[in-house]
Symmetry: D2
Subunit: 379 residues, 4 copies
């Protein structure tokens, strides 16, 4: 695993757990973790249960005891690490967004295709696909329960930047993060919407906004610190992105992603309305799916609050009795389980780097629209 | 009152009630109701408690015992009736949208200004302003509790057209209704958002969609029937409208209005996020306002479900003890109360025809954007 | 109508409305209102739309233009007024609780039976039976959708006495009100539970509590004022009642009624669990019924939020399109509609005085249990 | 760890995690797991990450590499194992209910007191105390935010026995489980209520019910199988328990625990109302606490939905950013963390065996009341 900040911690927890929760085709050994700062990475290795550490990702990839590389670094380093790992014959899981540009993402997707021909697998880590409620939503749509798609209404609302004195981090710097809310959280709702609907966006119209244009520099030097030292630095990415689009097969979609929705903490929301049913989801209540089955009589109908904790629900065979909630980290455990099963069976894991590239194209189209008077841009 | 369909019924209920619920400067007498079909309008007069009826709106306006004209007809007739009434010295309440075009709306606004100089008053009936929860939300924003506006997220979701066999009515014909979801329900959320925020939209980008392009004709001849007799007729308006915009004073806004949100009945929703607080509202729970006060400590903070039924809340002095819900029709009772108080005091009622015109301009800009590749259109 | 305080206002609103909302067998004329204070009752007559007033209820009953007497006074006067009215051949609607004691209630029920033989009808005004959601819940239970009853969980939570400086009113004096939360609000949930379940309680065990034993006297002389003038007076009724019971046909039930549930305004709640389904209701969201249909597959099942605003729902034929909420006062409009229809058709209205007596017996059994170490008392 | 069924799995997950999530005074090594069936226990050891296994709990306790014994077996074996372990100088965590009788629980509490004098620690595993929302609720009450206690309204609703063909397991046999819903789930809400309130119940009145009195025997021989082989067996415990009580310091409390609340999966609910505030909680939404602060103005007040995922909330320093939910298993991780910290610091962990005994006395008083016409029983 490369990277040891927030994503590193949660990935580690999932790697520690996956082999105990699920019957896997492999034994999982947590061989080594990589990071540039030797003190910090050693501490992370101890804390998170990795047997060794490396300060150069090239060394990490080269290790004989590493057969899977899990890339948790900021987006500007994804392409180099992932492509090198694939070329070295290592299976790769890469955090989202796949890359900071369509060009890098395309190169990664090409490398993944080539690697797959050699039996080397790759996956982009859109973990929300592994929320049981959303995996179950996908199965409802796939089996036709919603009918023809009419509307997607998606939002990802956070509020951690509302305070203008919140410090600048790499997530607010274009050269590191590529974009702001767009790549960080809009990416999730675009992927989730496309995944559950089972179709891709054909075009979009959008706008971006940066409400607070400069922020204090923390002066720190850790992984999350911004470049630039002390004082005040410019926010060079978007605080919020809003856009609408149309699916290839028809159906309107709207998206809002923001770090300025005061009082909303991690409200990743998805509503899908079809000609014969609807679903609604909010990650803050991740164990619930609201489902409307249009085939029932009007008088007795309404959105059902399905607790997605039955043993027949996706991934739930590994967990607790009905009504006992799962948490955020389980999405990663499920992701790794699916990845390992795919590697073992020789299938291409999903979502592929090509799927990651497609999301990148949507985000790029939004940016292009935003720069051109919000006019329509085909994906 | 001119018109006696759904809006006629609810207006009548409010006229019957307003004088008993509130202390008014006038006695309310329900003089006469107008409609073209003599049998139907007589029945409506009896049912709804009007002392007389007329089959020609010109006769209605001309009556000496009529001092207020309440226009509840389809939008294509608003301008003619309202302008004539104002010229005849009658105070006018006109249902929304004010008119089917900016031109007509502008003429009405001009007539209203001229009439006001003569002490003749007018109001456009955006009744959602009189939902106590939204009137209270306005007071919270006005007193600065939300800080600087960041986001408005508005939607008006219904599902009465999901069934493709639902018959064509005048609401789906452009020549009568002007537009579909746009003028019927997007008008409400545009007005409500501008009202609560206290600012106007400066520009928009949008798209319109008609999912079901032809529908069976009912063959009926009532007020709600479509023109065209039996068989199948074309839907010539939008089923759904989605757009985003920016407020003059800053802040992003998104809007979705649809008759195809399966399972949502009358979900007129408004979320407003500012730099120091937020509010959320859904008309299906019209007695509740969710309010987030950002000044409280994070650990104990969250959206409060305020039951807007305290005696100090707007309009509640007339009603029941805390926790006893009000219903849809109360919004009209409140509207008429405010109108009568304004007429009595010589103030211009709010929202004025000029406010109605401003909403019309926003809707027109959305249409224009939709016809031009969703590019940005200034309002 | 006798009485003109809170209940008088809401009853008047319903009487004004019922003839316009529903097709009735009679024209409704609001003949006269009664009250002891001539100034206040005249003002109430004007405000609420009554043609005349009387200061002696005997005179009111004696009027030729009065054929229905609606009793809205405190409980200590119910028996005298209602029995006199029935004997005078007037149909009677009486507010709940039917009386302050089982003895009085029994006398009233006897008088009602005798009057019915003469075609004179009576009803006790348990208005919550006319909440469309609860009337619909009753129809679900009646048609077997819930199966065999297992549990009722009922609560009526208010908080208007949490503040110890809230003044003493007649509702806190035993000689006027009979009891506190028990007769005022526990009565409602006992009746509602029995109504929806379609069975009666066979026995109970309970306790009563008075948290604040003396309160300031307001010194006022109005209808709601306590007897005793200024200073401090004793609270001689219960602030809260909790009890459980068993239905005659099996099934456990628990009840909590309190004026001390801080932050709950009028949370009249009912949960019913049967062998094949469940329902949940909270009057603060009176337009919603949560319904669980146990016959659906576990994976897709959950409580549905049914908006009880469809035209096929009970009473909804008179009102607005789906999703447009009704309010508290509609329960009275529905009640009067049912009463008038029953009078016209020669049926006994429901709930009858005998039903009111049965509720009184339950409340009396709770009191008896509370006085005897909470031991079981058969009803 | 002794026991390897459902509780064994979730305890193992927590033991694997605690050392990585929290800074602990000890390294955690999962030495050995115990169970009677050698094949099954070996498989459990492998699956859950235990280094060794034993088929006799006496051998397990005797192992030198075991310093903590975690008892996850059915209640009839708790006393023997826990007392032996304490006598052997091992720290003990014991699942709830502490024992199947007050006598056994008292013996265990006595053994714990004696062991504590030797520095050997013990804790009863009421894991719901470690739900962050409930730990936070406790801190709100402790700091006086709720004022004087008025009401506790608690329920634990499940529905896994609604189907009469659900097989008999040891949980429905008195000799193994001691009681049914009473000891299994009422125990949790009694402890949680006493914990959050910070007081104990002084007396209770209650009733028990067994709705389905015989069930099919599965014929299996696993840990969860009932004794008795194939055919039909008697349910000898309660399906549901309802009772009310009074706290020593004043305040009414009601409790309902049932396995027959159709559609409720694991709805462990707690409402607490005090003179200056209130809280409400439902474990199905375990990351949320509803909090009402009575000191705010009525017009803007209401229950706040606090997402208990801020870094300052109890236990959250170890986990994810705000709005990222935790799950059921985290309650055990937190429990083990607190236990290890207490052992290290030489403090008595909480809840102690004495706390477990106190809960047992409440449950016993409920049973006694139920057998005696629901009359009041002092605890």
């Amino acid at each position: 695993m490369v990277g040891y900040a927030f994503m590193g911690a949660v990935h580690s927890q999932a790697w520690r757990t996956v082999g105990h929760a699920f019957d896997l085709p492999f034994d999982v050994r947590m061989a080594a973790i990589g990071g540039r700062d030797p003190v910090a990475v050693k501490e992370a290795a101890d804390r998170h249960g990795w047997a060794a550490f490396e300060t150069d990702w090239r060394e990490l990839i080269a290790r004989d005891d590493v057969s899977i590389v899990d890339v948790c670094t900021p987006g500007d380093t994804h392409a180099a690490i992932a492509i090198a790992a694939l070329e070295a014959g290592k299976h790769v899981i890469c955090e989202k967004p796949l890359a900071n540009s369509v060009e890098e993402a395309a190169a990664m997707a090409a490398a993944a295709t080539e690697a797959a021909a050699r039996g080397v697998r790759s996956m982009v880590a859109f973990n929300y696909r592994r929320v049981p409620a959303l995996a179950y939503a996908r199965s409802l749509v796939e089996s036709g329960r919603l009918g023809t798609l009419r509307h997607v209404r998606a939002a990802y609302q956070q509020d951690w930047l509302v305070d203008p004195s919140a410090p600048l981090t790499w997530r607010m710097q274009k050269e590191r993060a590529g974009s702001g809310a767009l790549g960080d959280i809009a990416a999730h709702i675009v992927d989730a919407a496309q995944f559950v609907v089972g179709d891709v966006l054909a075009g979009v119209s959008g706008t971006l906004e940066t409400f607070v244009r400069s922020r204090p520099l923390s002066g720190g030097s850790g992984l999350s610190a911004a470049s630039g030292g002390a004082g005040v630095g410019d926010v060079t990415v978007d605080d919020a992105a809003v856009f609408f689009g149309r699916f290839a097969g028809g159906g309107l979609a709207t998206f809002e992603a923001t770090r300025f929705a005061t009082g909303r903490k991690n409200a990743m929301q998805l509503e899908i309305y079809g000609s014969s049913g609807g679903i609604r989801f909010d990650f803050e209540r991740m164990n619930e799916l609201l489902f409307f089955d249009g085939s029932l009589p009007d008088t007795e109908n309404g959105y059902r609050r399905v607790l997605v904790t039955e043993s027949d629900h996706p991934y739930l065979e590994a967990w607790w009795p009905p009504g006992h909630p799962l948490g955020y980290e389980h999405t990663f455990t499920h992701e790794f389980r699916d990845f390992l099963v795919a590697v073992s069976s020789g299938d291409d894991p999903s979502p592929s780097f090509a799927d990651g590239l497609q999301v990148q194209k949507v985000l790029s189209a939004v940016s292009e629209s935003a720069e051109n008077g919000s006019g329509w841009v085909e994906v």
